[in-house]
Symmetry: D2
Subunit: 457 residues, 4 copies
């Protein structure tokens, strides 16, 4: 799972462990026991399940195999909190997770503390001589837990959307849009193309050719980010910012959700069956083109200049078709991303507890126009690439090998990282993946286009 990550000393590892574990509890803190227990759809999980499952990971893959005489905290937890590891055995049915009124949320807290004690003893006692396998698994477990921090926020948002009170997870003073939704332009822009190529988004161009793709080692990465390899790209350009809500309103106003010619066949059937007429969490506000949306701040007006979020791949593809452009491939995206001087508005892992949990409007472009104004940490960006193994990819043996490889069918790669993504998961080679119909993750859209070969001269 881990590609040539550097060795760390005991103190660093202990600190890393404590920071990540504490961050999870901080994220769950605003939630009542009832909030932590509900499951609003089969794809989502209760908050306390996330808290227990991430703990189960350490118990199953570190404590049980490497601590002599380790006794499971509760022998039924292996059944209850296994997510999808077939090699570990039978497990609780996913859609039944909302039935887990017991163990209670405080009992899950006790479970976390007990495993933390055992883990910290393990790290402390063995000191810097901790074996490479153990260390790798601990680091993997921490990255795994950070993935669930994001899932926890996604799932809370979805659960709140099913509640008539439109609850706020956390009030923020910086929420966009609420103050003056009327200041946004109400003129639908024809196809958004002028905007995307002119005063609005600008194209970041690349001449194509041989490029290096994938994570080459030296720091932590998931197995699906490798092996690093060479790919061949034709000339292309990608927009320097994300598609905005204002542009999406123009798509809606132009009948985007009613025109089958814009959609993939499977997407059209899904959109008709499920009655899609706008991004998830949007509701019309009673005016002809105004919408409100649920955010983790509660429900508020949609601001035209913020990036659109909670759209499926099908919607992203239809939107791109409507503009005449297309989605970038994951190779194109990565090629541009690695050239950025900074990783953008990266979020600090510890600070998800205080960061704004919504994407923000792109800053004004700089004069050079070759950098991307908005690249990491706002929304996950749909690519046009199916989630498949890189050439020569091999999954690890055993249960750990189930982490990524077995999901390499029917899903689409997303790149970039969102406002609810821990910092450690925002890097140019990171491959996120979801089914093309899913919408509850923080996913948005960046456009791309072909360049003529002669522009490459």
């Amino acid at each position: 799972m881990v590609i040539t990550a550097p060795r760390v000393d005991r103190e660093s590892l202990l600190d890393h462990y404590r920071r990540v574990r504490a961050a999870t509890e901080a994220l769950a803190a605003p939630l009542s026991d009832e909030d932590q227990c509900a499951q609003s759809m089969p794809d989502a999980s209760p908050s306390k399940w996330h808290r227990a499952h991430t703990t189960w990971f350490f118990e199953t893959f570190v404590l049980a195999p490497f601590v002599n005489g380790y006794q499971a905290h509760d022998p039924k937890y292996s059944y209850l909190f296994n997510s999808y590891y077939e090699a570990i055995g039978e497990r609780h049915a996913r859609p039944e997770r909302g039935m887990l009124t017991r163990p209670s949320s405080p009992q899950v807290g006790a479970y976390r503390r007990a495993v933390d004690d055992a883990m910290e003893s393990l790290i402390a006692e063995r000191g810097d001589s901790l074996g490479r396998t153990i260390e790798d698994r601990i680091v993997l477990g921490l990255h795994h837990e950070q993935q669930h921090q994001e899932l926890l926020l996604m799932d809370v948002k979805h659960a709140f959307s099913r509640n008539v009170y439109d609850p706020a997870y956390r009030r923020s003073s910086s929420a966009p849009g609420g103050a003056s939704p009327t200041s946004a332009s109400r003129e639908p822009r024809p196809r958004g193309t002028e905007e995307a190529s002119g005063g609005g988004a600008r194209w970041v161009e690349h001449g194509g050719g041989m490029v290096e793709i994938g994570h080459a080692g030296g720091s932590f990465a998931f197995d699906n980010e490798g092996p690093a390899h060479i790919a061949l790209l034709p000339p292309f350009a990608v927009a320097d910012r994300l598609v905005t809500c204002g542009e999406w309103k123009a798509f809606i106003a132009d009948g985007g959700y009613q025109r089958p010619e814009l959609w993939l066949s499977d997407g059209w059937h899904t959109a008709r069956r499920d009655g899609w007429e706008a991004p998830l969490y949007w509701e019309r506000d009673g005016t002809s083109d105004g919408f409100t949306m649920l955010s983790l701040d509660g429900r508020r007006a949609v601001a035209d200049d913020e990036p659109v979020v909670h759209v499926s791949h099908y919607e992203a593809d239809a939107y791109a078709h409507w503009t005449g452009y297309r989605l970038p491939t994951e190779q194109e995206w990565e090629t541009i991303a690695v050239l950025q001087p900074t990783a953008g508005n990266l979020l600090d892992g510890e600070s998800l507890a205080t960061a704004p949990l919504h994407p923000t409007a792109a800053p004004a472009p700089n004069s050079r126009g070759v950098e991307m104004r908005q690249c990491f940490g706002d929304v996950w960006e749909w690519t046009g690439s199916a989630y498949l193994p890189y050439p020569r990819f091999r999954a690890a043996e055993g249960a750990i090998g189930e982490y990524n490889g077995k999901f390499m069918s029917n899903q689409i790669v997303l790149r970039g990282g969102a406002c609810v993504t821990p910092r450690d998961h925002v890097r140019p080679t990171y491959r996120n993946f979801f089914y093309p119909h899913q919408r509850w993750m923080f996913a948005g859209v960046r456009l791309a286009r072909d360049l003529d070969f002669h522009t490459n001269s």
Copy 2:
């Protein structure tokens, strides 16, 4: 809804109101906030939903129409806690009740107290001059709440059955069977007929003829118990006790769940589709004919002499077919029940909080053999009667009229009352009703048979 119930004075009504309302809270007290929030199937509701819905009933049908200037405690509660009253307006989808993490359980408690304050003020201020309509609605609301007390226990039991811990709602020192399951006879009795007609159950005979059916007034009854009327019955007999778990094991051992000739066609298809092989909550214990079952005491061995419970009408009918007898009609049941000197082991409404919440073995028969040893308060007894209006039945106008009449299709009448039924709901004319496939209520079986006409001479 109320058939000529006697007028009550202010103090009695206040006392009645307080007792019923307190009993609900006492039943919910052993449950955590998480326990109270989960919904384990669409037929069931979260405990706190029951607590809120019964409160909504008083707010909607008493406070809102009869208290000048009454302000709803929360304007969204009318949407959230309306169960099925079309005349009141749109309502929260039934299968979504488990999403109600908010209002929280304490907020529901505050709602109950606020409505109690308003109700007690209404009763106290108007004194004995409270109008008949108001008084009737208050009494109806209290009986309605007692129905939900039973539903709350049914639903908790079902939710606990989905939990890997087999939790106990309340430990009891008197639970049958746990101590010595091996003391029960393990010899399958052929068809249970000797048992039912001989040393075990005995037949209580009736010569048939004109009998009076239904509630004739003088005390509270639901509208579906009237009008009282005359029916004509052929000679018949009913067993003086319920079918036991030991007898049911013999049915299982004789292939009862594998023999289509014993079953109604719809029952057979349901049993095959859902994989029924024993009553709900039974699990094989590893021996050839032994079973454990989940009770509100937790999981324990099935005792041979306790009444079988949690069987569907389809199973009850197949069992009766297997014995060569049949289920009683609701008229036969009522005719015998009104002749009993006592209403049996009736439970006190207030004392559900301390009563054993499981049916108990029948006492030994007395020498006369014409009384029923077991009649009220163990399990609801399936009849062979479809739930239809009595002759000349008319539902009340308006939303209150939706209480019973609109359910008079596709359901089957049950009589008698169960160990989880409040005392006020145990009377000879009471008509309970469920769909023939449902099993989560405390329903069991009493046998009946035809007598020759000449036995009537």
Copy 3:
């Protein structure tokens, strides 16, 4: 199955056999091989399946057990053409009947001829000494086949309704309504009550008391029509004619399909889920209250004076609720029906092949007003009675016992017989039964009401 039917001589039996068998083939004659192969819903069967299944009945219950050395025509037919007899063994899944492109329709014809040859030999060779069991089974088989003649017409009509061509099964010169739909009154009548009690329908009154119900022997009847027994009825009246399409339009115009207070709860959910807005096969014709409907004559205008047909029990009950009256019980219906001097416009079994296959308008009332103008042979009439066994009913042993008894749950009794019902199935004691949501049979509505007891003086 057969209640004390008289013995018949060989010639009569042969003639009976030939007439019924030929009538089936005559009914199938207008259909192409493709028409005979399609299955338009799980409740319906292909025409050739009906032709084969009725033949299988004779092969299975007469030839196989009673003819020495009888060889099955095709050993797979026992699997393919068993409808629901569990005792006979495994069978082809009902919803798969449309996959039976083989055996072909001509092969089914050959099967029929082969079985007919064997049956006729059996009858001829044994002569008048044919055993009672054999004779009873032959007669049962012929009545069974006549039931399938009606099913064949129902199923053809449904299949044609799924075809964009609105095909006609048979053109008739007497089809009502087509000529001048505008001649019908377009004034919605308030609630139809004046009509039902005044110039339109008239009430046929009965004083109630002890009445005899059920078939007492002397001619063929199905087992579910007995045993004959005494019932006790309060005073009542039934309308002397069926509810008309004109009256139904008034129900629609008054919002009948949009008002939950008129409906049973299960009915309302079914109507909402399936989008009912009018009887099955009705379509709006573009005017405000005009409709066309599919009949076996093809699509034509709905005539106001013809009886409404293809309504579910839920719709029938809602309609009755709307008028303020109710549906008759099956005992009330039978009590009045046996008093009629004739069985009404009975259809001749042989002549279904030429009869009009639609219900006709009621004749003008006679001066006495105590007879029913319309009682048999127009539409099956929904009663308010659940389909349950009569007191002391016992199903026959073995596969034959599966004929009726195992369906005695969840269904509703219909009485009277329809325009597509063979004459032999139109009698006062006949109990037809369908689920309350079903609409593809020819079912309509007659109203009933309570009379005061003093009218009985």
Copy 4:
């Protein structure tokens, strides 16, 4: 749709038109009207629907737009026989195609003849001056019809599999396996790897590098085969023949269908849900490792040396995982295929009517070992490539543009062509595509593996 296909003269076009159209009718000839009417699953269509839909294509895209005053043969056919073209308007629901008893099969024949007359007049009258658009559409329509010839055979096979008679579409004297199934080795070979790399299959190696992919013009191709472009491949090898049924039996015997670690997650869930234990149409023959399978010749024993067919992508991937190898990418497959001296055992389009409709065993390898023994025309071969647009692909405008592009999500590319594929559809660049769970097409497996870079020296 057509990439720079050469112009053809009138006579060639007429001849082409007549040959393809006649081949369709020849394929349908062995089927009865009933066989042609049934629809055995939503993915499949009745034979006569294929005959009508291919005719509708010419009527809609050639006759209607380009023949002045053309009158539709039947105005309802545009609704009935539109497959999925949203731009053409509403259409008959796909799962309802089996309800089309009318138009009858002979009426579909008349439709074909009428359109053929109009088409031949168009071609003959305009002569060689037929416009490029018209000519392109005619050629496209003929290729489209050939695709439906294959679909017709697939769908007939599936429909026959639902018939208890295991009908033969056409008896063949050359069917493999039937004679001596016992002659096949019954020893399970461990993982099949020795077989695949040794005495059995041999590896055809390629050093990787820049390769040209896609159709470059000069003859007919579908739009999804272009644009031609350069790709970069690492060194690889592909097996010189297909995976055989004998090898697949070893996979089954080694628990291949019971071991989740071999499967993609979505594949495992599908296999469990649908109860897969062998390829579609296989049934155990009662011996420990013997199977029969349904072919278009009827049911017969599975021969060990014939290629496995009717496996899903999920099964293909699990099999490859079991061997330790993998599926080829579509680029790898095409790179090797274009190097073959012949297109293998190509089938003649006209002769599908007489060709064996089953894949055949691979011939013995030649001495050089660098050519593929089995490449075209046995089974479609699953690749590891998602079906996505080639770089710079653009769908055509209008309804014709719906032909391929809108399906570019969730599907997997197959290459090669099957024994039921018309010759014109067997070429190195052809991209077939199906969902990874589908099995009713003639799909099999070829293995591939990575080569070390140094083997490329």
